[in-house]
């Protein structure tokens, strides 16, 4: 029996990511479970199918983030814990890490913690590494196969064009993304029961975290500005005979270092 936690984040569907003028994420429009987190949950479900156990999903977010945890239940998770508190508004990845680590300690101990590599809204990829540090447990990235033997995790990792086998004592945190697996489609029977009981919601006080250590106040990093990268393509029209146009083209390509002579 393996006690598994999966970190889950609710994010805007990629077409609808918006930031306000302070660079804060605007949570509106369609919300989805962060795609890498679905891969993390898929890995957790495969472990559970082999070794048995329980899967708890953990998320920090506004009240509507409970939908992401209910969706995780439809996919196969056993229970969900949402850390939701207005005082967390504006938290950076440092605060998020502290909060998640406190929650994992309180509801653990967990043998395995799965997380997505990164979220499609902030794209920092900080949290799994920081949770590993905060909890003083090893982190394994880029795995493609896992097994548990004598209370140790053996992971085959992608290492360039090679597969590297590593092993570590439990607990361990592992990161997954869309290269790791293909998340399963939900079973309608599970969807029907995903909403039978809601997720457990806790606040900062219950985790024993001071409000001064949370939200914007507790965040050492700040996003200053978000701006769009605009790539412009220039059209150029060549004129003359075929030969002249050919020469002009070669000259243009050479001048822009696109053609080595």
């Amino acid at each position: 029996m393996v006690n598994i936690a999966v970190l889950v984040k609710q994010v805007p569907a990629s077409q609808s990511v918006k930031m306000d003028k302070n660079g804060m994420l605007v949570r509106e429009g369609d919300l989805i479970v962060n795609p890498d987190d679905l891969a993390a949950l898929e890995s957790a479900l495969r472990i559970k199918e082999i070794y048995g156990g329980q899967i708890t999903t953990v998320s920090m977010g506004p009240p509507q983030a409970k939908d992401a945890l209910l969706e995780a239940k439809a996919m196969g998770a056993d229970k969900g814990i949402l850390i939701s508190d207005p005082k967390l508004k504006g938290s950076d990845t440092w605060v998020t890490t502290k909060v998640l680590a406190a929650c994992l300690k309180r509801f653990g101990p967990f043998d395995l913690i799965f997380a997505g590599v990164e979220a499609i809204d902030g794209n920092t990829a900080h949290v799994p590494y920081q949770v590993s540090q905060a909890m003083k447990i090893p982190l394994i990235t880029q795995f493609h196969a896992l097994k548990i033997e004598h209370n140790r995790l053996i992971a085959n990792r992608i290492k360039g064009h090679e597969s590297q086998q590593t092993q570590t004592a439990l607990p361990v945190i592992l990161t997954a993304n869309k290269q790791t697996n293909r998340p399963r489609y939900y079973d309608l029977q599970r969807i029907k029961h995903a909403f039978d009981a809601s997720v457990e919601t806790i606040d900062l006080q219950q985790l024993g975290i001071d409000e001064n250590d949370a939200g914007v106040k507790g965040s050492p990093t700040q996003v200053l500005k978000i701006s769009q990268i605009v790539r412009k393509r220039e059209n150029k029209r060549l004129e003359g005979t075929d030969k002249e146009m050919g020469n002009q083209l070669i000259e243009l390509l050479t001048r822009n270092n696109l053609l080595k002579t």
Partner: protein, 387 residues
């Protein structure tokens, strides 16, 4: 009145949409071009999601969901691959669900779990070469012999015919009794004397192996009669009432696929130095397409909602099927017009939507039969029941 979906319904839609777009939409053009039946992986994936027993109780390995969820699932599947939608909707609403609603405990134990889990595919077989809209012309006969019935006859245009292992078959047991002389039987493909005839080559829905079925001295235990012997016609009408909600949702799915493709194309295709969507001629078409699909959608949900509340839904289901099929066909025609020549060639999916959609005006009761059902209900209402 509540026009909002429940959280379960929303998640069903989202989940089936993802599967349909990632898996079904990819295989659909190939299956269509090659007149090929669904590969086993697709059938297995549908089964793993319990899409073969959407409304069947969980005790019989179904998902136990309501009719609205069912409509959402069929719409999404059909939007990606109408032929898969056909396999799933027929299996669900005119085979599995009728056994669930009208079957005996023994029949449910024997047949329902296998159907709801997708271990076996189902077919519903009434139509004969000379009995289409007019069921009373049925020439397949069942003669009682001790504890069995012996069935002889020929059926045609059987959806899922070549892959079905469990089928509901209509046969005449007493010609003099008219409609009351028709019974429905649960027949296994494995029963001696059952054989599959010609598999039709069709204009659309090509991935579905619609076939003839032959019954040559097929001995069926009398316990396999669905409902009572005299009830075959009445049950068939009730079964088709349920089935039509599914076909309506299927037509809506095909129409939505055509509409979305056309709307996107109208913003991309430029003529006379502007996207063609800027021309009112195109905007008016798009507006009409959307409004027509929305009106079909709510008739479908209305019929499904009546059914879920155990209220009469025969007329509502006929209206849903009539309006959805007619509107979806119109939408497909307009979508092709917006695409112009590109809509007519096989490279883009619009011509497939057009071909697939046409049959929704014909099967499980033609549009004209739907009008007759609605018209009869109107006369009954306004004549005080005297006509």
């Amino acid at each position: 009145m509540d026009f909002q979906f429940t959280p379960i319904q929303k998640l069903v839609q989202k989940s089936v949409r993802r599967f349909s777009q990632e898996v079904l939409a990819v295989v659909a053009p190939h299956l269509d071009k090659e007149h090929k039946t669904h590969p086993k992986e697709v059938i297995d994936q549908l089964a793993a999601q319990h899409l073969y027993g959407i409304q069947v109780p969980e005790a019989y390995e179904g998902a136990g969901l309501d009719s609205i969820s069912y409509c959402l699932a069929i719409e999404e599947i059909s939007k990606a691959c109408a032929a898969t939608g056909l396999m799933v909707t027929v299996h669900n609403s005119v085979v599995a669900l009728p056994i669930s609603v009208f079957g005996s405990e023994d029949q449910k134990k024997k047949y329902l779990a296998d159907l709801a889990s997708g271990r076996k595919i189902g077919a519903f077989s009434i139509t004969e070469p000379n009995a289409g809209s007019d069921v009373s012309g049925m020439q397949t006969v069942a003669v009682k012999d001790g504890n069995e019935y012996v069935i002889n006859g020929k059926k045609c245009f059987v959806t899922n015919g070549a892959i079905a292992e469990t089928m509901i078959v209509g046969a005449t047991i007493d010609r003099k009794a008219g409609n009351k002389g028709v019974a429905l039987f649960l027949v296994e493909k494995a029963f001696p004397g059952v054989s599959v005839g010609k598999i039709e080559r069709k204009m659309g829905m090509r991935a579905n192996p619609v076939s003839e079925l032959f019954f040559d001295n097929v001995r069926v235990p009398k316990e396999n009669v669905l409902g009572k012997e005299s009830e075959g016609f009445r049950l068939s009408m009730k079964i088709l009432d349920m089935g039509r909600i599914g076909i309506a949702a299927q037509a809506l799915g095909i129409g939505m696929a055509a509409f979305e493709a056309a709307a996107k194309y109208a913003t991309e295709r430029k003529q006379f130095n502007q996207p063609i969507g800027k021309f009112q001629a195109i905007q008016f078409k798009l507006a009409e397409m959307k409004a027509n699909l929305e009106s079909a959608r709510y008739l479908i949900y209305k019929a499904a909602d009546l059914k879920d509340h155990d209220l009469p839904f025969s007329e509502a289901s006929a209206m849903a099927k009539y309006v959805s099929a007619e509107n979806a066909m119109k939408v497909c025609t307009d979508a092709m017009q917006i695409f112009g020549g590109y809509g007519y060639v096989e490279e883009l999916p619009v011509e497939r939507y057009f071909r697939d959609c046409k049959i929704t005006q014909i099967y499980e009761g033609t549009s004209e039969i739907m009008q007759i059902i609605i018209g009869t209900a109107i006369l009954k209402e306004f004549s005080g029941g005297f006509i």
